[in-house]
């Protein structure tokens, strides 16, 4: 038994050393544009809705994160890490907005969840990605890249909430959600600053705005749709878009910073 403990402790030490040597793997910079997760089962033949998301006013400063308790996380940053409440790009572009079709998709048309899982990584005591989508029933792989304890708590109303622990790097857990819900909040209570937001959808018609504020929802059959854009601090906005064929329509959103 003692040998086993030694190997666990030793493994943690090694991981700490490795992660220290691998500083470039996680940047303090905001995440790159996340491609809309579903690609597998969506017909490319349908219509497309693209758009840019901006905000007016001055973006609030993201609070600095005090990682002094977690040297292994702190070592992954070259500049002091901050929370990611409002991630802004050039010209007031707004990243991390979850855009989805909230109404208009004909009922009784089941969409198969992609076989590839969505990955939620805990690295540098932050979630990657910070905002993401998944389909009902789609596998979400939660993994820990930090050599320390994270707990992953899902706070949900329409889905069953959970709270599990991953005390070391390399641990993974596969979870699925059974009901559409915008948004499911994910958080770590060991590190109170760690938050991620998950939009669970019954169809593949959703996207997350990238660093330049742009998003794209593809494969929409003809119809009139309500598009909702959700941001964790600025709330929600809606637009109505009619798709007639394989055309591409634009839906831009502008949030007011407050």
């Amino acid at each position: 038994m003692n040998g086993r403990i030694f190997s666990v402790v030793g493994g943690m030490f090694l991981l700490t050393v490795c992660s220290k040597g691998d500083r470039s793997s996680v940047q303090a910079a905001p995440p790159a544009a996340q491609p809309a997760a579903p690609t597998a089962d969506v017909s490319a033949a349908g219509g497309t809705i693209t758009g840019k998301i901006k905000f007016t006013g001055t973006a609030p400063r993201n609070p600095a994160i005090d990682m002094s308790e977690e040297a292994a996380c702190k070592a992954k940053y070259t500049t002091p890490p901050t929370e990611e409440n409002v991630v802004a790009g050039p010209a007031n572009a707004l990243a991390n907005v979850f855009v989805y079709v909230s109404a208009g998709v004909p009922a009784g048309q089941p969409f198969a969840a992609p076989a590839t899982p969505v990955v939620l990584d805990q690295s540098g005591c932050r979630y990657h990605p910070h905002v993401f989508g998944a389909m009902v029933g789609q596998n979400i792989e939660i993994k820990n890249s930090d050599p320390l304890l994270h707990n992953i708590k899902a706070i949900a109303k329409k889905n069953r909430p959970f709270n599990v622990s991953q005390p070391n790097a390399g641990m993974t857990k596969m979870v699925t959600f059974s009901a559409p819900e915008v948004m499911v909040n994910l958080e770590c209570n060991v590190h109170g600053w760690m938050h991620a937001y998950l939009g669970v959808r019954p169809d593949p018609f959703y996207a997350v705005s990238g660093q330049d504020g742009s998003f794209s929802i593809t494969g929409l059959p003809p119809g009139t749709y309500t598009i909702e854009a959700w941001h964790e601090k600025f709330g929600t906005q809606t637009a109505t878009v009619t798709i007639a064929g394989t055309e591409s329509k634009t839906a831009n959103f502008t949030f007011a910073a407050h």
Binding site: M1, I5, V8, V9, M12, E69, L148, L149, N151, I152, K153, A154, I155, K157, R160, P161, F162, N163, V164, S165, Q166, P167, N168, M171, K173, S178, N189, V190, H191, G192
Partner: protein, 510 residues
């Protein structure tokens, strides 16, 4: 026959209509008419009453995210949740009534009607033996560290870990990491089995995660998880403390001034529970200090009183300000102006009467009255070595005395305050400063505030009157007299027997 069948069916089924009546009468005051945990009393509780609409339950035998079984829910109804406002109902409601109310509670959430949500209880094994041995506890401690328990529960388990000030439940209410030295306050019970189950299932809705996956992931074995439970259990006393009314202060040769002086080791300890001050405005329903551990000794001319209590923070501590904000947002204030969080200190008050009462009558326990004041020692975490002696004439009237107060030494160590007060037995100002005397029952009471929980002024934890007795040295005759009496009785008895035998043999000779 048909009647018997009907009766059986009635007994076997749970009746939500009857359950609703019981719920409305007994449960809705806290849990709310619609089960949303928003009854009239809810704003006076931390942790707040369960919101049944989400069907998220802490105490389960099922994996995290699953619904509890009926047996799990019934256990919480029957036994209550220790350390919270939820009492046990086993002795107040019949079996039938408790089953009915259970059925009604389940109607508040659609999850229970969803047939895909069948709870699958975990098959828990039995605790491995040798759980209280040094080797087992060492393994338990190693995994306590490696699975990160200390992050919230602290290095010594007093709920004072680095993440403790930031903890919230799912509804953003403040929540304390459990003080692992008080197993009688663990929500789901304090046995090794209870602790192991909480480790396996987690406490859904709270920051406490499930560690069950770690066995499947081969991070640790089932036995090692049991060892963690056994280690945690070992932090609390074997039995929950019971109140003994009189603190006996033995006579010692020298006075221990320091809280960790070795003299204290051999002195008996007394525990007194503290409760929220809910008599005077502003009332306080959520005290952080749950009790004090008291020891006392005296010499021929002085007394030393040692008060120890668990407190998650060494206040004032600005890292707890956000917690204070959450406490104020959760509790309904009876102040006209809502308070703003501030870095208040920790405080402890030891209270005596002005003089030792001759009869049963004592001043009002809650800091005396204008006509009958009490003598107090007020210690604060800011002026650690300079407690203020004074007279209280009611909870909001305190008059410091210029001289003659006690000295103090204080230690803050991993979520615990240890403070020793020392003073001369005699008092030059006998009108206001109690002269201590041996062989008399001296009333004593305790009050504590945790500044980092928003406690200050009348917002504090209080006790009732207890007693302090300075034991007189036992004179030698106490030990010698019984022996002499026994020997005398024996001698007399033998004399009687001898005389009787003499007489008998005399008669026989005749």
């Amino acid at each position: 026959m048909i009647h018997a069948l009907l009766l059986l069916t009635l007994v076997a089924t749970q009746d939500t209509t009857a359950g609703k009546q019981i719920y409305t009468k007994w449960c809705a005051g806290c849990h709310g008419d619609n089960g949303a945990g928003d009854g009239p009393a809810a704003k006076h509780m931390i942790p707040p009453p369960r919101d049944f609409t989400g069907a998220v339950y802490q105490i389960r035998s099922t994996p995290s995210s699953q619904l509890p079984t009926d047996a799990d829910l019934l256990r919480s109804i029957d036994e209550g949740l220790f350390g919270t406002a939820m009492p046990g109902w086993k002795s107040r409601l019949s079996d039938r009534q408790r089953r009915d109310v259970l059925a009604y509670i389940k109607t508040f959430s659609t999850f229970f009607a969803d047939t895909t949500q069948r709870p699958q209880p975990i098959k828990f094994g039995n605790a491995p033996g040798g759980g209280s041995g040094a080797e087992a506890l060492k393994v338990g401690r190693q995994f306590y560290d490696s699975i990160g328990c200390r992050k919230c529960h602290g290095d010594l388990g007093r709920g004072d870990g680095p993440s403790a000030p930031t903890l919230k439940d799912d509804a953003q209410h403040p929540i304390f990491a459990a003080n692992l030295h008080e197993n009688w306050r663990f929500n789901g019970g304090g046995t090794v089995e209870d602790i192991y189950r909480r480790l396996r299932t987690g406490l859904d809705g709270t920051p406490m995660p499930s560690f069950g996956d770690l066995i499947e992931n081969k991070f640790l074995t089932d036995e090692q998880l049991w060892r963690v439970a056994q280690y945690v259990r070992s932090l609390s006393p074997k039995d929950a403390p019971v109140v003994r009314d009189v603190v006996h202060a033995p006579l010692t040769k020298s006075l221990p001034h320091a809280p960790d002086d070795s003299t204290w080791t051999a002195v008996a300890v007394y525990w007194f529970p503290l409760v929220g001050q809910i008599i005077h405005k502003a009332r306080w329903f959520s005290p952080a200090v749950t009790g004090v551990w008291v020891k006392a000794v005296h010499t021929a001319d002085s007394i030393a009183l040692r008060v120890v209590w668990d407190d998650r923070s060494q206040s004032p501590d600005t890292s707890w300000l956000a917690h204070v904000g959450r406490v104020f947002a959760t509790l309904q204030s009876d102040d006209s102006t809502p308070e703003q969080p501030a870095p208040w200190p920790d405080q402890l008050i030891v209270q005596f009467p002005v003089s030792i009462p001759t009869g049963m009558e004592r001043p009002y326990f809650l800091m005396g009255s204008s006509g009958a004041p009490v003598y107090q020692w007020r210690w604060s975490s800011i002026a650690r070595t300079a407690p203020v002696a004074g007279l209280a004439r009611g909870i909001d009237r305190f008059e410091p005395l210029s001289s003659g107060g006690p000295a103090a030494q204080a230690v803050y160590d991993h979520g615990q305050w240890r403070v020793v007060f020392t003073r001369a037995l005699a008092s030059t100002d006998t009108a206001s400063q109690l002269p201590f005397r041996t062989g008399r029952a001296i009333p004593v009471a305790f009050f504590a505030s945790d500044g980092s929980n928003g406690e200050h002024g009348t917002r504090m934890a209080i006790s009732t009157w207890y007693f302090l007795a300075l034991d007189e040295p036992v004179p030698a005759r106490v030990f010698i007299s019984p022996v002499l009496a026994m020997m005398l009785t024996l001698g007399l008895g033998m004399l009687v027997v001898w005389r009787a035998q003499q007489k008998t043999s005399y008669r026989r000779q005749q």
